[in-house]
């Protein structure tokens, strides 16, 4: 009698299980068992950057940042960078050479002084948003994970002065916006390629007025992620 009851139960339940599995498949995410490569993880990033499209002075940026990823698509943190070292651009060098040339000074006294400025210390709080994240493939082989992220921050910066006799104040408000590409060859770290605009109030040269200058910067960083990545649905 019990055997017969078990058979009846199996016969009745089998279609129900099949139907429920079908429904689960229909509701399944595009990527099953996806690794949430960012959510709930700490990100520590040493980075190196260089300003692009600068008028007189190209600045080199050395940076360390920390972020906590509250969700797979949102994080917040701080960054500290120093950009007080650099070199003259072509235009800066050209004008500088003329300034250093005594013969030129005698014929054209105007460029006798060529004080210029660059970025200095940059300390910002920031938030990051990941609109797109997924997988990367080379030749049909899964290479790892990747994302595109947008970043914005606000804080303060200092201004470095070069060949400037009486420089103005050196601290300023700093605002940053940018975006980049992050590639995870392994779960523990990512290679980051970013372009950010650090906007700092300053005079570009002695002959310029003080204004919010734009300093687009290309940044390469390596991020270390802890702890282990979680899993999605």
């Amino acid at each position: 009698m019990k055997r017969i009851a078990a058979i009846i139960l199996a016969v009745v339940l089998f279609p129900v299980v099949a139907v429920s599995q079908e429904a689960t498949l229909a509701d399944a995410p595009a990527i099953r068992h996806q690794k949430l490569i960012r959510k709930g993880r700490h990100e520590i990033t040493p980075a190196f950057g260089v300003t692009i499209n600068s008028k007189y002075n190209t600045d080199l940026l050395f940076q360390l940042s920390y972020e906590y990823h509250f969700f797979d698509f949102f994080s917040a943190g701080v960054e500290i960078g120093y950009a007080g070292v650099g070199f003259r651009t072509g235009q800066g060098k050209m004008i500088g050479d003329l300034v250093d040339d005594d013969a030129q000074q005698s014929t054209n006294p105007d460029p006798a002084s060529f004080g210029r400025s660059g970025l200095g210390l940059l300390v910002l709080g920031k938030v990051s948003f990941v609109p797109l994240g997924g997988k990367i493939v080379i030749g049909g082989k899964h290479l790892g994970y990747a994302d595109i992220h947008l970043t914005a921050g606000v804080g303060f910066g200092t201004v470095s002065y070069y060949d400037w006799d009486n420089p103005p104040g050196s601290s300023a408000l700093a605002v940053m916006v940018g975006g980049g590409f992050r590639y995870f060859p392994i779960e523990l770290l990512s290679l980051n390629f970013d372009v950010r605009d650090y906007m700092v109030q300053r005079q570009l040269s002695e002959k310029d007025e003080s204004k919010l200058t734009q300093n687009p910067t290309f940044i390469f960083g390596i991020s270390f992620f802890l702890p282990e990545a979680g899993r999605g649905r």
Partner: protein, 221 residues
């Protein structure tokens, strides 16, 4: 007697349920719905791509340009394409607060246009989800491009020009992509004092329209 009666009812239920399930789950035709090799949702091979572009040179100090152009590509394979392009520039001098343009800078000349051809390769592909986990996958690839052509500057001459760059292509639909690209267009400019090698690093944003509009798989018989 009663157990036998009960067993007969069970057999009837099993038979009925089984036949009902069989009627619902009609077996597929041989080969139907079964793909041994997963189909790629976005195929570029043997398709044309027409891409209107907006161009912004990024490394200018005393001048500023914006450009509009068009790229024509034929994708021979998914990973290689040949193309032709034209960019028309509109430029002006920047604010000359330091008097540099008048006093010392002899290396400033506005650009007119660039025309040339190129080859591009796709080493990396991938797929993204919105916010990393939602919506339909967005397929993308990264391409490298090299090319050559002629650059014309205003009041200047034609210059032979080579270029190299990298770009991202995001597939919005089977026939539309959004392309981001950074390329260095290099040429030798003949200034009044001397000849000078010019690196014109240009950011381009474009929409790629693919033709035919849809790729059709040819299944083996």
């Amino acid at each position: 007697m009663r157990p036998r009666f009960f067993a007969a009812i069970v057999v009837a239920i099993v038979a009925l349920t089984g036949s009902y399930a069989a009627a619902q789950d009609k077996p597929p035709e041989p080969g139907e719905g079964i793909r041994v090799v997963q189909q790629k949702p976005f195929i570029k091979a043997m398709r044309f791509e027409i891409e209107p572009t907006f161009n912004l040179p990024m490394n200018e100090t005393v001048t500023q340009h914006v450009g509009v152009g068009v790229q024509l590509r034929f994708h021979i394979k998914d990973w290689v394409a040949i193309g032709a392009e034209y960019i028309k520039y509109f430029g002006w001098s920047k604010n000359d607060a330091d008097g540099g343009l008048d006093n010392y800078v002899s290396y400033a000349r506005l650009m007119d246009f660039y025309v040339g051809g190129n080859v591009s390769f796709v080493p990396l592909t991938g797929k993204f989800l919105w916010l990393g986990q939602y919506g339909k996958p967005v397929y993308w690839d990264l391409y490298l491009t090299v090319g050559g052509g002629a650059a014309k500057t205003l009041f200047g001459d034609y210059h032979g020009s080579g270029n190299a760059g990298v770009g991202f292509r995001f597939a919005a639909t089977q026939w539309l992509t959004v392309n981001f690209e950074v390329r260095d267009y290099m040429y030798m400019e003949n200034y009044a004092l001397e000849d000078k090698f010019v690196n014109n690093v240009v950011f381009s944003l474009g929409l790629g329209f693919f033709m035919p509009f849809k790729h059709t798989y040819v299944h083996p018989k």
